[in-house]
Symmetry: C2
Subunit: 397 residues, 2 copies
């Protein structure tokens, strides 16, 4: 019998429906606030959701009463929620993604406290803590339930509302991770009021990004409200966070590739250099700060390439300035920066795909980047930034 004649096959095919809600609320731990208890849907026989809280140490500094308030909330809803012990505290910022021991701390607690596939990890904190806790939840028992409460602008409008988790390894951002949609996301704007100015403004760059890629009206709105945001107006920030989150959710659910099986990564505008700048700065640069520089750089590349009009380019730089975000960092001159393009290709797989813009609100994919021209873009951006600094105060917001 020939080999070909012997070969037979079975086909395994199925579809899965995914769904989760992103809630916007104020003071989620007010016992009268029903959002969190409704997010923690229990299907155990007794109707009580068992919950392991994981909390960001930086958030705890500003909200030292958080564990007590969470415990009081759970006690008030004892028929629906049972906390599985005290919160696991992870270090705020990228540190929680840099050292695998923090994921192990969450896994230890999942094991010790018998968190099963019908119980919850409740991850409360910045994007990095939510990512690390979400990764632990994603791999324990092949996935325990996750409810995220992102506490930063970046977390609430981007990192905390999507379908990914991850930690860094081998010196690479998010080398380890899974696609694992949460059960729910609860965005509590109360957390935003205690952010440092740096965290407050750095989260806005992802909103600028999605506006540049998809929504010129939102970009114009951001130009209008940038001064209020820079002055820490919570209502103005609420407009930014909600619309940015909405555009992200539309992207995830509407692009046909939520788990990124293709080569395209249309929301990664400015991100190849942003990831590298963060590393080269040894995390001195926040993700959002690096993204602002990355977008400014790739916009400048698009300008030099003749793809983007000078006027649009100036609006991009001016908006970042109005939001208080720097356009450059010393790491732009590190020769290792351009190696980030190759790493980015590897992370995507296959073809290099970089998203640029050819107008405000119009993203386009390119598959070739001229390294020489990218070098010129760095020089041009540095010059433009110096000029803007010199005229700061007279520039229009």
């Amino acid at each position: 019998m020939s080999t070909a004649a012997r070969a037979t096959r079975l086909d395994a095919a199925f579809s899965l429906d995914y769904g989760y809600a992103v809630h916007f609320t104020r003071d989620a731990f007010d016992p009268a606030n029903p959002v969190l208890v409704e997010a923690l849907r229990a299907d155990a026989a007794d109707g009580v959701a068992r919950v392991l809280p994981v909390v960001d140490s930086g958030l705890l500094e500003h909200h030292p009463d958080l564990p007590a308030r969470l415990a009081a909330y759970a006690a008030h809803h004892a028929d629906r929620i049972a906390l599985a012990g005290e919160p696991v505290v992870l270090p705020g910022g990228e540190a929680s993604k840099q050292d695998p021991r923090h994921v192990e701390e969450v896994l230890d607690a999942i094991n010790d406290r018998a968190i099963d596939r019908h119980a919850y990890v409740l991850a409360i904190g910045g994007g990095a803590v939510v990512d690390a806790a979400g990764y632990a939840a994603g791999i324990a028992h092949r996935g325990v339930r996750l409810v995220r409460m992102p506490s930063t602008v970046l977390g609430q409008n981007d990192a905390g509302i999507g379908v990914k988790n991850g930690i860094n390894a081998y010196g690479k951002k998010n080398f380890l991770g899974t696609f694992a949609p949460p059960v729910a996301v609860v965005n509590d704007e109360r957390f935003l009021t205690t952010l440092s100015d740096e965290d407050w403004r750095s989260g806005t760059s992802e909103a600028v990004k999605v506006a540049l890629l998809k929504d010129p009206a939102f970009f114009a709105e951001l130009e209008r409200i940038a001064p209020a945001i820079a002055a820490r107006d919570l209502e103005a920030m609420g407009v930014l966070v909600r619309r940015c989150a909405e555009l992200h959710i539309e992207h995830i659910t509407g692009n046909g590739d939520p788990f990124e099986l293709g080569s395209a990564r249309p929301l990664d505008f400015g991100h190849w250099s942003a990831h590298k700048l963060e590393q080269l700065s040894h995390l001195r640069l926040r993700h959002g700060e690096a993204v602002a520089i990355g977008i400014a750089l790739d916009s400048t590349y698009a300008l030099l390439d003749g793809m983007l009009a000078d006027d649009d380019w100036r609006r991009v730089l001016a908006l970042f300035q109005a939001l208080g975000l720097d356009l450059v960092a010393p790491e732009l001159e590190d020769p290792a920066l351009l190696a980030g393009l190759q790493e980015f290709r590897e992370h995507l797989g296959g073809l290099l795909t970089v998203t640029l813009i050819d107008a405000i609100g119009s993203g386009v994919e390119v598959h070739e980047i001229d390294l020489g021209m990218m070098g010129q873009a760095i020089t041009r951006l540095q010059a433009a930034s110096a000029e803007l600094d010199a005229t700061r105060g007279t520039a229009k917001g």
Copy 2:
């Protein structure tokens, strides 16, 4: 403004289609055999699939020419396949799932050899090696592509063809893992010819299991071909492997819950005790051997509970004996065995759900197990096994 009035929500909802083929072939590394090259679909610009091989050390002992034959196969198909270096060799058997360093070895290679989300891990070996390599593939870059070539009966009819991966941690089977369907599975029956007698027969218990749960005609077929299988007839084993794989695929794709979000785990018949017996025996018992004992035990429980007829119960025990599988092990007397029920509940989450049978080919779920009766079932099974041993040779197959 009241809290309730402020609360707003966005809903993220999407569907994903999953699909993969399970191929049955003989001598997949024959350059004339197209199955593997077709399974390694490339979408890189050059049409070449980059492949990191991960191979089971136990398989290598019996097939020392495997790396050379794989390299020759890739060279013959150089327009379609490029090997990313020599195979990573993982220890055969449960050892590769017991020590997280083996997952790290695969992750190191994925990083060192720049395996991206469009490149492949080709996992070749027993169920444990395929599980460990698959876990590494599942978490690197949030999932690189995986093609599995299970080399054992158990791998080809069960462990290697589904949607899960995992390793052991905290002394618990598969504590860490993900749901990550492979791109394809290639079952090469040539690998079965070099299995030890223990590995050959231990893989048959999963076929007995699915027959007992779902297919009385398959069970009768197994009774008929058991002597040929015990005599290492490859054609008879092919019948068992293919029908068992088919029932598994039908289950995964047809039950509406391939990623096991509910409490039910209908294919885990006999598995609460099997997992525990493996641990208590310090892995002296193979998974399939433990499953045979676990099924015999839960069938005996069903008998004592009045759920299963005496005649059906005897057929279950007789088939395992005809296949050369033991019905008991000293670990049945370990008091820690019954603690396995609680661990099983935790792993499932929520409600305890154990699948029993009320007839050959008819699985039923129960949510209560009487520990006293389970103790009696152990005693009854030990007695029945001793009786069968005494009459071995005269018993009908």
